[in-house]
């Protein structure tokens, strides 16, 4: 019907001759398709090309709404704090803060698209910052700290993945168990103290200082974040790994019967999320020059919220990384505007709830304006 189907035979116009309209004669040989049929097929074809044109390489239609929300927020920020909001320094602050949760959200996006959930990200971040800042670790220098943070992330992800994929424990429960254990372990290792970086390990901390900004302008953390997003985007959208992630999240049984190694892939998704937590914990160490078991509190909810508001289905199989990143930026910008405007915690929270709802509605409005895009 939609293209292609307009073969020369597509010409049977059903003229019903009343209720008794029996037309027993077989159709005559096929002449040119009737005008309206032709027109219909063409219209359909045109429409689909048109839609194809709207789909920018990176940005999907559904992301436009969220982009709109971000623009609205930026307007709000500029309006309420014209002198402070759109300054270079403040943008750096926003992007830097977004980097930490952003990296975690990238991993979370993979996990959720793949049909899972990871509630342990915040706790893994806490454990990684703590383990990487113990005296013992710091003896190995900056390299040791980096290695340790990443290893802890990957290790926790591995345990999650193994228990979920091979131990067949529901992801929600397994990662909540990991949440408890990792945070407990973090308290244990640090004895509840905030562990600061030694004088010898200031290389990391220096990354947070302006003298080390790239071209004197771009904070290394933001570059790291951008790199993670780019790599994540490529992996998700341009590799077989990414494609398999969608497939497994969309219909696990179908993926299995198509010969995909569902368990191994699921395992890898949690390892990936763990790795992202490792990277985020390094970023936190850069920012705070310390590690503590209180780090990463409630990151799981923030990350999931960013992913979902970014248009990814909580049940898996569909989603975009760009959406998640926009989600993170929206949340970070909201917080920034609140602080700039000296809002009290109470007002902040009420406003946050309201803004989230408005954001989703704006988003859907935009999506529905666009031809036939699905509702969020």
């Amino acid at each position: 019907m939609y293209g292609g189907e307009s073969g020369p035979e597509a010409n049977e116009v059903g003229n019903m001759n009343g209720p008794e309209g029996v037309r027993a004669d077989p159709p005559a040989d096929a002449p040119a398709p009737p005008a309206d049929e032709q027109a219909r097929v063409e219209a359909a074809a045109r429409e689909s090309t048109a839609r194809g044109r709207f789909r920018l390489p990176l940005l999907e239609v559904r992301n436009l709404g969220l982009l709109g929300v971000l623009v609205l927020l930026i307007l709000a920020g500029s309006f309420t704090k014209p002198a402070e909001f759109l300054t270079y320094d403040n943008v750096v602050v926003i992007l830097t803060l977004a980097s930490v949760s952003g990296v975690i959200t990238v991993g979370m996006t993979f996990v959720i698209i793949g049909g899972g959930i990871d509630l342990s990200v915040g706790a893994i971040v806490a454990l990684a910052t703590v383990w990487a800042t113990t005296q013992a670790t710091q003896l190995y220098g900056t390299g040791g700290v980096i290695f340790c943070a990443l290893a802890v992330g990957v290790g926790c992800g591995l345990v999650n993945g193994l228990m979920i994929a091979y131990g067949r424990i529901v992801a929600f429960i397994m990662t909540i168990a990991m949440l408890a254990s990792a945070r407990g372990l973090a308290i244990n290792i640090s004895s509840g103290h905030t562990q600061t970086l030694n004088a010898d390990n200031q290389t990391l901390v220096n990354l947070g200082y302006k003298d080390n900004f790239l071209f004197g302008r771009i904070p290394p953390l933001v570059i790291m974040f951008a790199a993670v997003v780019v790599v994540g985007w490529v992996v998700l959208n341009r590799t077989t790994f990414g494609r398999r992630t969608f497939a497994i999240g969309g219909n696990q049984e179908a993926a299995r019967l198509a010969g995909l190694n569902v368990r191994m892939h699921t395992l890898l998704l949690y390892v990936l999320s763990g790795l992202c937590c490792g990277v985020a914990s390094l970023m936190l160490i850069v920012l705070t020059a310390s590690g503590t078991s209180a780090n990463g509190n409630l990151y799981e909810l923030d990350a999931i919220a960013a992913v979902i508001i970014g248009g990814t289905l909580l049940s898996g199989g569909r989603g975009t990384l760009v959406g998640s990143v926009l989600g993170v930026l929206v949340f970070t910008t909201i917080n920034d505007i609140f602080t700039l405007n000296n809002l009290t915690t109470a007002t902040q929270q009420v406003a946050k709830g309201v803004i989230i709802v408005i954001a989703v509605l704006v988003q859907r409005l935009v999506a529905e304006r666009r031809a036939g895009a699905d509702p969020v």
Partner: protein, 503 residues
Amino acid sequence: MPEPPLLVTRGIVKDFPGVRALDGVDLEVRPGEVHCLLGQNGAGKSTLVKVLSGAHQPDSGDIVWRDDQTPHLTSPTAALRLGIATIYQELDLVGGLSVAMNIFLGHEQSAFGFTRRGEMNRAARELLRRLGHAEISPAAEVGRLSAAARQIVSMARALSYDARLIVMDEPSAALAHDEVQNLFRVIRQLTAAGVAVIYISHRLEEIREVGDRVTVLKDGRTVAAGLPARTTPTATLVAYMTGRAYEYVFPPRTQPNEGAAEVLRVEGLSLPGVFDDLSFSVRAGEIVGLAGLVGAGRSEILETVYGARRPSAGRVTLDGRAVRTGSVVASVRAGMGLAPEERKSQGLLLLDSVTGNVSLASLRRYSRLGWLDRKRELADARREVRALDIRPDDPRRPIRTLSGGNQQKALLARWLLKSCRLLLLDEPTRGVDVGARAELYALIRRLADSGVGIVLVSSEIPEVLGLADRVLVIREGRVLREDDARELDEHQVLDLVMEGSRR
């Protein structure tokens, strides 16, 4: 003088984004008749069904229901209230609820909000008995029933409404021969009581048997209406549907090559409680059919050979090399492919495009160091879409917007694309229209001719006999007879498989 019609539709139009699914449907259904809807995959039958059931709102057109010129058809509830009950093409049951609850979902028998379970169970049992399935317990959980039993529950639900019109969208697709007879018996009872039935099926012989009149849809519009179901020649019906006269034939068998190498060897395969010590083999270029009734365990045989189920004993050898049992990954790596029986739950990535569905099993081929060659993927998908005449023919379309039969074709394309050594096809033509069926047969034969070994499971015995080279007749998980397809006829096979139940 005929009675006034029960339902008349004129010029129904229904647009989906990018597709006009209905483009002027005229239909007239009289009380007490079985009105058949015919049409190719994607012709718009199911869409029409959903318009009649209130699930979709038409963009234009008129519906007249009895004397009502503007019937209130704005929701499923409204349609049910008017007396239109529907059996949908995709089984729409709730797995977590009991049979009785499913049957009475939405019109439960209750007192002050409390379900009257005893009464519902009794009423459900009565309905199931009417359908010839008194043995299905009203208390059983629907999720645990077989596809066939679920279809019966669906029918019981439609019967549970005191409907004047029951719409049945391919109710026989999941049923075996004797089940279909049962269904027809019920339909005759209904029509005798003045209830009208709209019946959709791709099997012409069913239409001839149970139908009164036929309306043919093509590309979303009525091309012929009210044809007599029994007397209209097949060629005519097919011509209306497809636009050309069609030969409903199986492709000629090529000369069997006795010397061809064995592709598959199954030895002593056992799945406790389903089959035991099963052995058979498939040669390159050979199509082996498994004939048997629904429930004979043929799907399990395929799934076990394929590694989706773990056998308790037995060996599977592909091209002379042993394949690890119980591992789909190993089987696929070795060169097997399985087109599963249950389209939606086992096959489709509903959120993905046609391309994504077609390429799923062959991703490795488009991978260079993990990088996905999307251009080549799309090109190949497009080729398969053309080859199988999947409509609409844009492989970038979301697969969920395709009609049921076209989805089935896309699933087949998945395995055609992945050049396998051995293809296991479980009901490959379920829901596929007459024209496409012939093309599929030709395709399967061509595949075999290229040296692929094929195992075919189909509940349509003529299909097995017509397409396969060799047939294994299965009952209770045992091979009753193994023979050249040409040595067997439908009655022989039926006798063999039914014997058990007549014991």
